[in-house]
Symmetry: C2
Subunit: 501 residues, 2 copies
């Protein structure tokens, strides 16, 4: 059964079956009435996150205003054995915040204060509901910014970024969320406060911070975050390079990295994507090219000049058919505008789109794109490709129609097929969007029983009753048996000879 | 009771009390006879690691030759409920490999193959017993190297580096071990094989790799490691800057980082350290200066020229009394030679030295150095300071005489006092040497009960019988009660106002 069908089934079963009156009464002892939403019309806006393919009506929505209230919510849910699904801004793309029909949806959007910016130490302390871009906006006064920049950065929250270990166009050089968060204050399901991480580079004790980041709300609720800020570069410029084939562009990506250059961003768009985007954005993309690369250099003027020169040389040597370097900040932003608006542009050519997220070895790029063309035929759905080429992170956009149940089913199967292909070529089922509900089945292919056991052991150490975001991220062995897949790495096979990245 | 006294006590109690004959017989079923050492003269060389202050005769020493034998050793120890202390090259400085008098010391030195170097992907797959420097030597043919460079890099092993999350002079720019290891293959105490990490930047599932790195052999035994290699920089140059006070040098460090420069290395030596080292190394250090800084830039010629200029400007603005830039690779290495030989130099002025490791906010540098001068008087022992200034990681060298029990006790108390001071000013008890046995008491001050509980929960998830390196890194609540210390951060106090880094 597909995940969306399962959800519908569970929602129907739960409808009016669960009586939350005692739970609500207990919640009201620690929260103002307006923070607990129980009427269907109040709960409706929370029925899905950015993965609109999956929907479920939450049992209850709770929107606490501070840490004390979060402690009360968690202690209450623990007491009543009610599942808790945490939610940031709800922009996630893997269903990490898809509600539990018999559980509490705990939104942190009201914890939205920027508590402190320390310009000298280049750090900020913020609450989890603060928007990603708001951190950089507040830091701009000190010529600092927060590096991870997911496409949803106008809307997405730092709390959600932590849950999903969000990336972005610039993460190749500046790292994912995990590389830019210094400390976390969390509340466990028991209502205990624990601080993870340390200001020093090497934390004493076990380093649990990176395990928490990307744990999709399964280990605790974040109430305070200390992030690293970095100085704004003096200058940034982009080289736009055209290639006559996706293969040639793939080789160019490999050679850029191989030459020791770490671009501030290195993105690829295929012809279908540039044709989808150009009429909408007028970014000036080469519509003749089979693939274009956007490659950014940032730093001091001397550094950028030197690096741009080296980038152009690598691209020329790889047979670039056209090279263009941004001559002004305005032009640089225009080059990026097309890439950043690829998703909205998809909305203009198709009623709905399903944004996939998987990572493959860069050497497999041409093969994987070829296979996807075959899948388009098999599933009778279009697919455009934009991706973080520098780290092999694909974002195929599957174009479908949500009002046509058959189209939904085909989109979901198309997506699952892409993920299995990623694993088969030595890649992984997620790049930066997390596992959530969307990729729960493919986790059975990705990991061995012993590896899934290790995940479960950590999960149980923090949440023995399995109340925090259950059924997400870590599949049960039953689910894997049903899915009928064996893992393809791990166990006795160490590092298969297939090139990974 | 001091840790060294405890150890002596335990060793005496264990002497000839434990009969390992059944264990040895079982071990021989899976290991050749020469891999199991039981005679005192065979075991003697393993009685301590680089922290010679702590010694204990291991119950048994086992030196397996491959993964299969490691599995057999661990399954056997599990069956007999015998503690296992893992050991790399034995160069660790916090007693992480101090033996258990009733346990097995498991050395991985015979797993010393470099299995594969992939120049295109810039990665290497090595066994845990491979020496740190051997990786860079093997990668040199491809103009690549392995970045983390602890002072012991000629001798220390990759396995030990992982256990301690080792750093080095260049980790300010290139990261600690945790930032340079991509994947690990480990054997659990049950004999299961688990792979941690992923080739992709964002691993699916829970990110257990960073929790394993620095876990001091408490979670499993590493059998295979995939590390990142980086291209050798075209050029590297060092600025040597003199200052009339430690305070002024501290401000210069802060301003370098604050200006957005990330030096390839940024080290400070105080006058006592330069005077100790200069006669031995002839590095050309300014013996008039109260403190000197060594600040390295690496990259392309254009980048280095630009960055060195900016570094010189910051130092001049901070009142540097002398500035000297290395004019050749030979001169650069000479500047570093003094820093890298500070420990051996200490051996020339004192029979023994105790190298401490703690991290403090850079703003506290002058205060902490002042307090240490008072401690020299209190404990009647000398102390020289060399440190990774860029990340506030101190390495005070306490000079003492191991043949004088009173001197040993004073050295140990001096060290404990320094660590408590680090915590008090908002720092941590370890920079890059780990906790081991040495800092086990101070962990009670560093963390709250809930935080220590979280560490224990992860430990128990991997090793429920607590057989892997017991009594290290994570103190029991009993020990903390006995030590009589409360934690100073965590719990209800979020981020105290004192500046951390």
């Amino acid at each position: 059964m597909d995940v969306s069908a399962e959800l519908q089934h569970a929602s129907q079963a739960a409808e009016s079956a669960t009586d939350f009156s005692e739970l609500i009464a207990e919640l009201h002892r620690g929260l103002p009435a307006h923070c607990v939403l129980s009427r269907p019309e109040e709960k409706k806006p929370f029925e899905c996150d950015g993965l609109t393919l999956f929907k479920a009506m939450p049992g209850l929505v709770v929107l606490p205003e501070n840490e004390e209230q979060i402690i009360h919510v968690l202690k209450t849910c623990k007491k009543f054995s009610v599942p808790v699904v945490p939610r940031g801004a709800g922009t996630g793309l893997s269903g990490g915040a898809t509600p539990h029909s018999q559980g509490v949806l705990l939104g942190v959007s009201k914890l939205n204060r920027i508590k402190r910016i320390d310009a000298q130490a280049a750090t900020a302390i913020v609450e989890p509901g603060v928007r990603n871009l708001a951190v950089s906006e507040a830091a701009a006064a000190y010529d600092l910014y927060y590096a991870p920049d997911p496409s949803s950065q106008i809307a997405c929250s730092i709390g959600g970024n932590i849950a999903e270990n969000a990336g972005g166009v610039h993460c190749l050089k500046y790292g994912l969320t995990v590389h830019n968060v210094i400390r976390l204050r969390i509340v466990t399901i028991d209502g205990d406060i624990v601080e993870l991480g340390a200001d020093a580079p090497d934390a004493p004790g076990l380093n649990l911070l990176p395990a928490f980041i990307g744990s999709e709300g399964m280990l605790g609720i974040v109430t305070e975050v200390k992030v690293k800020l970095i100085p704004k570069p003096q200058l940034a410029r982009v080289v736009m390079a055209s290639f006559a084939s996706v293969e040639a562009a793939g080789v160019a990506v490999k050679n850029i990295i191989g030459s020791g250059i770490i671009p501030a961003g290195l993105e690829m768009m295929d012809k279908r994507a540039t044709h989808m985007v150009e009429p909408f954005v007028n970014a000036g993309y080469d519509l003749e090219a089979e693939a274009i690369l956007l490659c950014e250099s940032d730093g001091t003027e001397a550094e950028v000049q030197d690096e741009i020169g080296r980038m152009e040389k690598v691209f020329s040597d790889c047979g670039a058919t056209r090279l263009q370097v941004s001559q002004s900040e305005q032009e640089r932003l225009r080059f990026w505008a097309g890439r950043k608006n690829a998703f909205p542009a998809a909305g203009r050519v198709s009623p709905d789109y399903y944004c996939m997220d998987g990572t493959i070895p860069k050497s497999q790029l041409a093969h994987v794109l070829g296979e996807m063309v075959k899948m388009e035929e098999k599933y009778q759905l279009g697919c455009a490709n934009v991706f973080h080429a520098g780290d092999g992170n694909l974002h195929p956009l599957i174009l479908f129609d949500a009002n046509d149940p058959d189209s939904v089913r085909r989109a979901e199967d198309f997506g699952a097929d892409i993920l299995e292909l990623c694993i088969r070529v030595g890649g992984t089922v997620t790049g930066e969007h997390g596992v959530g509900l969307e990729k729960i089945n493919q986790m059975c292919s990705q990991f061995s029983r012993e590896e899934l056991d290790a995940f479960s052991a950590l999960k149980k150490a923090f949440d023995p009753d399995m109340l925090l975001n259950p059924t997400k991220q870590i599949p049960t062995l039953n689910r894997c048996a049903e899915y009928g897949r064996m893992h393809v790495h791990g166990g006795q096979i160490a590092f298969p000879d297939i090139e990974r990245f």
